[in-house]
Amino acid sequence: MTREDRTLDKRDTMTAEERLRAVINLQVPDRVPASSLNNYFAGSYGGITMRQVWDDPQAFRAALFKCWEDLGPWDFHYPVNVRYPELYSFVMPMKARWPGMNLPDDCIHQLLEEEVLAPEDYGWVTSISRQTPNWSYIRLSKRVASRIWQQVEEGWRGYVYLLPRFLHHLATWAKEFEMWKRKGLAILYSLIIEAPFDYFSLARGLVPFIKDVRSRSEEIVTATDALIDGYVRICRLVAGLLRVPRIEIAVHRSASDFISPQTFRELSFPSLKKLVEKLLLHNITPILHCDGNWDLNLETLRELPAGSAMVQFDGPTDIFLAKRVIGDRVCIMGDVPNHLLCLGSENEVDEYCHRLIEEVGRDGGYVMGAGCEIPPNAKPENVRTMFQSVFKYGYYNK
């Protein structure tokens, strides 16, 4: 396969992988790249059920490929189709309802706001992190999985249940990654984890966690800090196995929709920053997925190491403000809003994408993408317009 085979357009002078590395390093690539967080939309567009999105990898690959052919291309494969729902507990430690299990086949999965971890678990996490620092994240996530799924037993039997599924999941992703690499795409990351503070927020439930923040802040700080080595271990393991040296860190509950900027700065950011720094020490690039409104947290994000991470925003954040405040520190991805993709016209999407490219894409350090996941009921023509905008407006040497 020649270098030319791996470019997506005849005007491209970089491969997708080179483009990805350039934007993360805040260099100016040949053009703005596009990324596709495309899971349930691929299912609906490709004519398969939402259940098949997670339980039939072959059907899902075909659906995503149909999207790629009809509406693409895009530069980065953004994988989220965790192969087994039980493993989803390692990504988002929450109970959920799943299509084909406790929802109709054609509904998307939905998370439930319930307490999965108890207040005593902060101390337990600190204790296991001291005993077995490298395995703390896996032990914690296994405990969470056991509390969510009856079939994941407490103790070693739980690992016996999960391990083959985890390996099968990795094999499925490895196969997908190879397919997309052959088409000239870069793989955005090999694993999704939840930031330490946010992990507890999700697993405790929002209201109990807010009370914990008030009454147990020291326990939270100690537990989140203690977990870092365990996070790094699993990230190194999976990044090595799948040969993709990038990890997505989801930060679902640290926006100022959920906590104050002061709480973010004092309780959430310290462990997040430490995790980012430790991953970078192991040559793993962190990609932060920041849901909600981050306008008031942008100054704090400036403390992230320059030119070595990416931050994705999902719509509520003023991405143009973000460019001004942190654009010289981190690469920014986003944020074509869901309502625009679902209800807007092609012209409106085109105008918004053009503005993103001109303002957020100025001087590099930007990736075009939807705000969070492309919604299942997005208009296909709008999705196509979003992806095509980088070829229409995104070349730096016009």
Binding site: R97, L206, I210, H339, C342, L343, P376
Partner: protein
């Protein structure tokens, strides 16, 4: 001199608020005036939230204190009719089971003196219509986190129209992806981007 109940709850002084409420009740103060003062404090919380001095945790914690204070006052209210600011039906629309935002809005509306009929999650358009009919509510609050909720919101508004109720019922919507465009699409009257805006809209439509 002791601080007012309103300022204590506005500062989220849980123990001191409850102590002051008990003291006031023991002194034979009119329970309705204590409720009114608690609501004044909650209004201060709402204002500080709008001004970004307070954040969601402050809304939640102050509402928790309010609920505890009301539990202390309730036995003293039995013989008295608590005045209501109006009746509201609320729920997460069909196909969506997310409830955290809806629950917070429902709590804040209750704290502000509205009768709130919470239908829960995954509520069909017909169930909303029936509850509006049954309660005579003048405001319907629809919540949804998924973009798939846009269609359910629209169908609910259409069901209200079909039942001949739309003229006397205002519809407000809220949830992560909801904005002005979704108001136009669904046929609702307005959207609240956070609990404080929902409260403000309730004030506009119901007083």
């Amino acid at each position: 001199m002791s601080e007012s109940i309103a300022s204590l709850i506005a500062e989220m002084e849980e123990e001191r608020t409850l102590a002051q409420v008990k003291e006031a009740l023991d002194a034979g103060r009119d329970p309705l005036s204590i409720v009114e003062e608690l609501r004044e404090g909650m209004a201060v919380v709402g204002k500080r939230f709008e001004e970004k001095e307070y954040f969601l945790p402050d809304l939640i914690l102050s509402a928790e204190i309010f609920k505890q204070a009301i539990a202390l006052i309730e036995p003293h209210l039995q013989a008295v009719d608590t005045p209501s600011r109006g009746s509201i039906v609320i729920g997460t629309v069909q196909g969506d089971i997310h409830d955290i935002g809806k629950n917070i809005v429902a709590t804040m509306l209750r704290c502000s003196g509205y009768d709130v009929h919470d239908l829960g999650v995954d509520v069909t358009p017909q169930s909303f219509v029936e509850k509006v009919k049954e309660t005579g509510s003048g405001l319907l609050a629809l919540s949804g986190l998924l973009t798939l909720a846009f269609d359910s919101m629209k169908e609910t508004v259409q069901a209200l129209e079909k039942a001949g109720l739309r003229d006397r019922v205002k519809v407000i919507i809220g949830g992560g992806p909801v904005n002005e465009t979704v108001v136009g699409y669904s046929g609702a009257d307005a959207y609240g981007k956070d609990p404080a805006e929902a409260l403000k809209l309730a004030g506009i439509y119901l007083g």
